[in-house]
């Protein structure tokens, strides 16, 4: 549902999506190359992209429609700023291999799912930084879970905004109802992804904390 198909959005929104996503991808590579060797990050990035890539196949019936897992919160918390290019790669593969989401809309879809991933990372990172205490593992998990939920809610919100922007540009409320349904349909998914994100973070904190971007000193 947060994967917008071809021919739905107005060209202005599509172009703005490509420009924004290209800018953020460039920024995230630049930012993380300041702190880490990019080549070292690639296996981790590929693994998380693989998870993101197949997550969209798991769908949950909601009312008359169905929503699918997005996992952008998990990707954000594990990869940090590199979650944005990861989501871009995942969406390219989904569009070409599953015909899931349009090809012209990969840019705007990346923005809609990638920015919430960065927000989830930001929230978890800031809270983690404030704690300075290894015993607060459960608290970190709860905060990560919440930010995972926020990531989904924000993705649905940004998708609705893209649809409403299209309405405004075209001057007719074609997608107004769809935008509201889309928000409502994602409410259960917010809870589900919050639980998934929290569980993943608990697991990784215990087993391999260095995998988590939020648990490392830099980016």
């Amino acid at each position: 549902m947060v994967h917008i198909s071809d021919g739905v959005l107005s060209p202005e929104v599509v172009v703005a999506g490509w420009i924004l996503s290209a800018g953020i991808i460039a920024f995230s590579f630049w930012w993380s190359s300041r702190y880490t060797e990019l080549a070292d990050e690639m296996p981790r990035l590929s693994l998380m992209t693989a998870a993101f890539f197949v997550a969209s196949l798991i769908h949950i019936p909601v009312g008359p429609s169905s929503v699918h897992l997005i996992l952008n919160g998990v990707v954000g918390i594990v990869l940090g700023v590199l979650s944005f290019p990861s989501i871009f790669i995942g969406l390219v593969l989904q569009a070409f291999l599953f015909q899931h989401g349009g090809i012209s809309t990969i840019g705007i879809n990346t923005v809609n799912m990638g920015i919430p991933a960065l927000v989830a990372y930001g929230i978890s990172k800031i809270v983690k930084g404030r704690l300075h205490n290894a015993e607060k593992e459960s608290l970190i998990a709860v905060v990560s879970g919440l930010s995972g939920g926020i990531a989904v809610a924000l993705a649905a919100l940004l998708t609705s905004v893209s649809l409403i922007m299209t309405d405004l540009i075209k001057g007719s409320p074609i997608y107004h109802d769809a935008a509201i349904i889309l928000l409502a349909a994602h409410a259960p998914l917010v809870v589900i992804e919050a639980i998934i994100t929290g569980s993943v973070v608990v697991f990784l904190l215990q087993v391999k904390p260095e995998l988590l971007a939020i648990a490392r000193a830099t980016a």
């Binding site: 693989a50 969209s56 008359p64 291999l97 599953f98 997608y175 889309l182």
Partner: protein, 159 residues
């Protein structure tokens, strides 16, 4: 001791990842998209969302039926079981049925040929979903592989 525990944990992670991989390889019928199938009776159209855990009927979705000249013949909505029925016009053998779910971007269509009997939009494409998933994983492993190759070259040069 610590090192062995670390190794065991590493093994566990690899096994868990592999099991997930197997799950995705064999468990999935189809992607999250709408498929439309129909059978000749009156004419019954059935639309559903595919995905893990079987089919979810595409309820109360808009249906548009076009005749062989591309004119809109009949419109309606699917019922709570994702089904829609209409009577074919005599003499018109082919119809295009378009189903639009009440969320943007979820739309599918199928061509109905009354002399053909049965059509299924989900049968399109020779490559099955498990193969598509494998293909995706292949690309991603390629990205990781190129990065590792670059790393090892750099390490050899420095040494």
């Amino acid at each position: 001791m610590g090192e062995r525990r670390e190794m065991r944990r590493g093994c566990v992670i690899v096994i868990v990842v592999f099991m997930f991989f197997l799950l995705f390889c064999f468990g999935i019928a189809s992607a999250h998209r709408i498929y439309v199938v129909h059978r000749i009776a009156d004419i019954e159209v059935y639309a559903y969302f595919g995905g893990v855990g079987g089919e979810t009927p595409c309820r109360y979705a808009d249906v548009e039926v076009y005749d062989d000249r591309g004119n809109l013949y009949v419109t309606g909505k699917t019922d709570e079981n994702g089904k829609f029925r209409f009577s074919p016009e005599t003499g018109v053998k082919t119809y295009k049925i378009v189903v639009k779910a009440n969320l943007p971007g979820h739309q599918a269509e199928t061509l109905l040929n009354l002399s053909g009997g049965y059509s299924d939009s989900s049968a399109e494409g020779a490559i099955g979903l498990p193969m598509r998933i494998l293909a995706g994983f292949g690309y991603l492993m390629g990205i990781a592989g190129i990065a590792m190759l670059y790393k090892s070259r750099k390490a050899t040069k420095e040494a």
